[in-house]
């Protein structure tokens, strides 16, 4: 009985949520997209994902031992980084590519800054951009999957000016086209995203503003004539949905307040659309998110909530 009268400082009410619980839920929410990737691209996709996860976790472990800090492999953040990195790779890459990418993600993208909570950029995207800059040959070769109609991604085909009539919106939605492992099946990604939204682990601000801005912008400027762009195509293709729900919502590298998150989402959307329409790359989601990650401290500074009782 006396145990119920513990005297302690505030806060007195604790939520059962913890970092590792949230992280593992995100891992679960990514599983549908992974399964879809394996169904669409075959077992290669599974091996790439497993290898990336293993490399990420091992790097985290190695850093924990070398720096004599707490071993943080069980909190799931390294697993997420591995999965997200693999989801951003073409399915038929040589297996050393996800290993190098995952080691770079964890070591340079996260641990040199001080580990989880300190990184200024999304680690998985750092790894992807590193691979993209280092081995563009592997990163942009999409070998045809079993029933995919085209080997290039729809966005790459669009960039090269090829006709796109044979891809329907339904095919784009279900992922029946070339692309990276985790980005193709929008349906599976949305299942995971809904889980995270219901649990309250991500808020609507960033994904909604991000996708909305990209849609508006590609609608206005996406075609030769103004206001004739194929906005639905731009929303459904490439890594936009994966990026908007799972990578632009990274807790660490995004603004804290709702106002800041809206600015962040709009910025991501603008940059993505600009890169897609006028840039040299067919896809701009990863660069857009990384650039906005860099702007996050600034956004946070100007969207600070007023503390009650102050001017």
């Amino acid at each position: 009985m006396i145990n119920n009268f513990t005297v302690s400082g505030s806060p007195h009410i604790h939520k059962p949520e913890s970092v590792s619980r949230i992280m593992w839920t995100v891992v679960i929410s990514l599983i549908p997209a992974g399964i879809a990737g394996v169904i669409i691209f075959g077992l290669d996709a599974l091996w790439v994902t497993l290898v990336a996860v293993a490399a990420a976790v091992l790097t985290e472990l190695t850093f924990g031992i070398l720096t004599k800090k707490k071993i943080t492999i069980l909190d799931g953040s390294a697993v997420i980084t591995g999965i997200l990195l693999a989801f951003n790779l073409p399915p038929q890459v040589p297996l050393w590519l996800p290993i190098v990418g995952a080691v770079f993600s964890i070591a340079i993208g996260k641990q040199v800054f001080g580990g989880l909570g300190q990184n200024i950029f999304n680690p998985a995207l750092v790894g992807r951009v590193f691979l993209m800059a280092s081995w563009p040959k592997y990163m942009t070769t999409f070998t045809p999957s079993f029933d995919a109609v085209t080997s290039a991604t729809p966005l790459a085909a669009l960039k090269e000016g090829k006709a796109l009539e044979h891809i329907s919106y339904l095919d784009l939605f279900l992922g029946k086209h070339g692309g990276c492992i985790g980005e193709v099946c929008i349906l599976a990604l949305l299942i995971g995203a809904v889980l995270l939204l219901i649990k309250g682990y991500i808020s609507w601000h960033i994904p909604a503003t991000y996708i909305f801005t990209t849609a508006i912008f590609t609608y206005i400027f996406g075609a030769a004539q103004l206001f004739h762009g194929d906005w639905l195509f731009h929303v459904l293709s490439g890594g936009l949905i994966l990026g908007a729900f799972f990578m632009a919502t990274d807790y660490v590298a995004t603004p804290l307040t709702a106002k800041g998150q809206i600015i962040f989402g709009v910025g991501c959307g603008l940059l993505t659309a600009v890169i897609r329409i006028w840039g040299g790359y067919p896809e701009g989601v990863s660069y857009a998110i990384l650039m906005m990650n860099a702007a996050t401290p600034l956004i946070d500074r100007y969207t600070k909530n007023r503390i009650y009782g102050t001017k």
Partner: protein, 197 residues
């Protein structure tokens, strides 16, 4: 004599211009793509450092304090022009590879930094060894960075392929790779320094 040796060696490790003072990073980032560029840039900068340190320490008592920086710049620019013309005459290939960064040695902060911090306060021989040590330290740092970048970025050292089947990491041939390598090396040397103290 012992004093002079100390002036020479401090530039290599204890006060290495690149890794400890973090000076002259602009040419370091720009030309460290291959070892041969690194050696060329290091040699050019060492020559300028040496020449300007010697002349400045000789004329230090005649230069009015208020206009010392313009005077230093004129002396440094003289040596840079000599270097640039020699490079153009005897090694046009290296000159093309180093490009604008040879004339830019004029504003290299290592050179002006040594002139301001050392040569204008010390006698000829001390300035000579200080300039030489700083130049050698800069060259060694450039060689280290460019060796890492050349090996990772193109799989070669001095134009020779080392490992067959090694897939070059293009990013290390780009400026972003230079920032990465310098940052990691700086961190590594700071780690060593902290361990020792």
């Amino acid at each position: 004599m012992k004093d002079l040796v100390k002036e020479f060696t401090k530039g290599i490790i204890k006060e290495n211009p690149t890794f400890v003072l973090a000076l002259g990073l602009c040419p370091t980032l720009a030309v460290s793509v291959s070892v041969i560029n690194g050696i060329g840039m290091g040699a050019a900068a060492t020559f300028v450092l040496l020449g300007s340190s010697v002349i400045i320490s000789l004329v230090r008592n005649f230069i009015p304090g208020k206009i010392r920086i313009p005077c230093f710049i004129v002396i440094i620019a003289t040596f840079v022009t000599i270097t640039e013309l020699c490079l153009k005459a005897y090694s046009p290939v290296l000159n093309r590879a180093l490009g604008i960064y040879v004339p830019l040695i004029v504003v290299n902060c290592i050179v002006l930094g040594r002139a301001e911090a050392f040569a204008c306060k010390n006698n000829l021989w001390r300035s000579f060894f200080d300039g030489l040590g700083m130049g050698v330290g800069f060259t060694l740092a450039l060689i280290l960075i460019s060796a890492i970048r050349e090996f990772l970025g193109s799989g070669q050292i001095l134009g020779r392929t080392l490992i067959k089947g090694f897939e070059p990491v293009f990013v290390f041939g780009m400026p972003s790779g230079a920032l990465l390598v310098i940052g990691l090396l700086l961190g590594f040397f700071n780690l060593l320094k902290n361990r020792r103290s």
